[in-house]
């Protein structure tokens, strides 16, 4: 007894622990559902207010959405009468028959009906490429890169544009439209902007003055001009300088415009990542004898790109949505096909436009949120691998 009392005597200068302390479980308020609620939703008065506010907003918006999209929606019908309140004598929500009927137009645009299997095949090949590249444990990812960046573009050109010699009649890009155009423009933009952006970023940090100047001028010029202007210039001004027979296809011009535009933004994103890499990494790489390109490819870029994943995906999401701007040069992307269809007199009702826009919103949301989630997953995985 006396010894134990002495052990806890705080005024005593010397102390020796005689009984080791075993770790205790944390208090109940830190764990389980209650702990989660406290930590995430109700931690401060401001947080409580925000939680209540968001809950009210959801309580208002979600039932309305469900009512419009599902409960009051019209599911079948043969024309505008099916979706007219004055005919049906009930509350009318979304007009789904309109979507069902025009769906092929939303997907293929005016692509000739007998040739649409070619587009389907392209979609399947694109899906394979995306899955192969996005699945980080996929077998032979090197082959996947080759497939996505060499095989797919060639096949896509042969399939979509057509080569008469292969028995595939040429389909002018004027007829392309809908999801097809949106996916073609977005994937070309996404696939080109990162490599181009990396080259521009390296160029801007180059020790060679000419390379640095050219890269900087390009980046600053493109960033200083709205995308709409780039597209207008590509479609209106280019023909003034290039002879008729050399004049590239309208869609191709828009593709180049968007790819260059996105790469200027990507360059700045990548440059930020390059600047975040400590000097010691460059020195370590140089000291073991790596040359410039090997150092960049093996040491610097893997780290720089990893820390910029959120920004890269941010740029991609912006790019995906910016593809809708191609409509101003007369290209019928997905949103434009909905725009065209919604004013079709056959389906003219008060809910047609809302239904069309709802579908467009869902389409873009699915793709953009998908990219966002995927990037979060990749980040988490890379962070777990290194556990820094």
């Amino acid at each position: 007894m006396r010894r134990s009392a002495a052990e806890h005597e705080t005024t005593e200068i010397a102390f020796v622990r005689r009984t080791p302390l075993a770790p205790q479980p944390p208090p109940k308020t830190m764990t389980g559902a209650l702990g989660w609620l406290r930590a995430n939703l109700l931690s401060t008065p401001l947080n409580v207010a925000l939680t209540v506010g968001v809950a009210l907003l959801l309580a208002f918006a979600v039932p309305e959405l469900v009512r419009f999209l599902i409960v009051d929606a019209v599911w079948t019908g043969e024309g505008r009468d099916a979706c007219l309140e004055s005919v049906q004598h009930r509350e009318i929500g979304a007009c789904w028959p309109f979507i069902w009927e025009r769906l092929p137009y939303f997907i293929y645009g005016s692509y000739p009906i007998p040739e649409r299997w070619r587009v389907d095949l392209f979609f399947a090949m694109l899906a394979v490429a995306i899955a192969w590249l996005m699945w980080l444990d996929a077998p032979r990812r090197d082959l996947g890169v080759f497939y996505a960046f060499v095989v797919l573009p060639i096949c896509a050109y042969v399939l979509l544009h057509g080569v008469a010699a292969f028995g595939l009649p040429v389909v002018d890009t004027v007829l392309w439209g809908g999801v097809l155009v949106t996916l073609v423009v977005a994937s070309v933009g996404i696939a080109c902007s990162l490599p181009l952006g990396i080259m521009l970023a390296l160029g801007r940090r180059s020790r060679m003055p000419a390379v640095r100047l050219l890269s900087t001028v390009f980046i600053e010029f493109v960033r200083g001009v709205p995308l709409i202007t780039v597209l207008f210039m590509a479609s209106v001004m280019l023909p003034l300088f290039v002879p008729q027979y050399l004049e590239p296809d309208k869609l191709l011009r828009a593709l180049i415009g968007i790819a260059l535009f996105a790469s200027a933004y990507m360059a700045e994103v990548v440059r930020a990542g390059l600047q975040a890499i400590p000097r010691g990494q460059y020195e370590g790489a140089m000291a073991i004898g790596l040359r410039y390109w090997a150092m960049m490819r093996l040491v610097i870029l893997p780290q720089a790109l990893r820390i910029t994943i959120p920004n890269i995906v941010n740029t991609y999401i912006g790019l995906f949505k910016d593809t809708t701007l191609v409509f101003i040069v007369g290209i019928f992307d997905f949103l434009r096909t909905i725009e065209v269809a919604r004013i079709d007199p056959k389906w003219a009702t008060p809910v047609t436009s809302t239904t069309g826009y709802a579908v467009a919103a869902i389409f873009y949301l699915v793709f953009c949120y998908g990219m966002s989630r995927y990037s979060r997953a990749v980040e988490a995985r890379l962070a777990a691998g290194e556990s820094r």
Partner: protein, 263 residues
């Protein structure tokens, strides 16, 4: 006084390593950062197998000098000849020298996105064009030598500072360098990890590696160095064998410096 161009003196109790060749020759080296004259007329000749410890107050140009040897820093005048190759703007010569000169940094500079094994095999595979299997065998050999083969598949961030520095030593050795440069290899370590790194370096020295070590570890200098080079304000102030250097420092600034670090 001018630094003497003397070869490794054979010291008692050590295998005599008579001049088998000049590893590094620095003649009249000058370097400026803008207007600041960081290295002033440096002359130093290092023989193969010689161990040189470079010390001096911070900002004296020690690190800058050894970083000039593998061209992490450019010099503006003077000659640096490493293993018979003169360092110029010629990229091929820089590459050649970097292949033969290993370097260990204060902050390790391991590549955090690669495992220990990948850190060690990167240069052999990409610079020496060695098959992966062979590079891994060599890496494992050196990781055993620095006593951490079991960490080969971890990432640098999962290791302690001392372990990371030993990996960095192994990584440099995997290129089979003729010369090793150490830039304050223990300065960023927690005190209890300094010894494991110094022990590794002592072993390396005993195997006859040509070493240039910038360090404040005077115990290491005493034990290992053939010569100590004392620098201040970008100049070599005094060079001598350790016994003489510590017992009879000849220059006023050397005495002052030793008085400050040897309490």
């Amino acid at each position: 006084m001018m630094p003497e161009d003397h070869a490794a003196s054979s010291r008692p109790g050590r295998p005599s390593r008579l001049a088998t060749g000049v590893a590094i020759e620095i003649v009249g080296l000058n370097k400026w950062y803008g207007d600041f004259h960081v290295l002033r007329d440096i002359n130093l000749k290092v023989m193969s197998g010689e161990r040189i410890v470079i010390c001096g107050p911070s900002g004296s140009g020690k690190s800058t000098m050894i970083r000039c040897i593998n061209r992490l820093e450019e010099h503006q005048s003077g000659r640096i000849v490493v293993d018979g190759v003169e360092l110029t703007d010629d990229v091929r010569k820089i590459d050649e020298i970097r292949r033969d000169v290993g370097m260990v940094f204060q902050h390790f500079n391991l590549f955090p996105h690669l495992t220990v094994m990948e850190n060690c095999t990167l240069a052999p595979i990409w610079v020496r064009k060695m098959p992966k299997r062979e590079a891994e065998d060599i890496a494992l050999h050196y990781l055993k030598r620095v006593k951490i083969p079991e960490q080969a598949h971890k990432y640098p961030g999962q290791l302690s500072g001392g372990q990371q520095q030993r990996v960095a030593i192994a990584r440099a050795l995997c290129m089979n360098p003729k010369i090793m440069l150490f830039d304050e290899p223990t300065s960023a370590l927690d005190p209890e990890m300094v010894k494991e790194v110094l022990d590794t370096m002592v072993e390396l020295a005993e195997d006859g590696m040509t070493m240039l070590v910038v360090t404040h570890e005077m115990g290491f200098a005493r034990q290992v160095a053939d010569r100590i080079v004392f620098m201040d304000e970008g100049q070599i102030i005094e060079t001598n064998v350790p016994e003489e250097f510590f017992a009879h420092p000849r220059h006023e600034r050397t005495r002052l410096f030793l008085g400050q670090i040897l309490r």
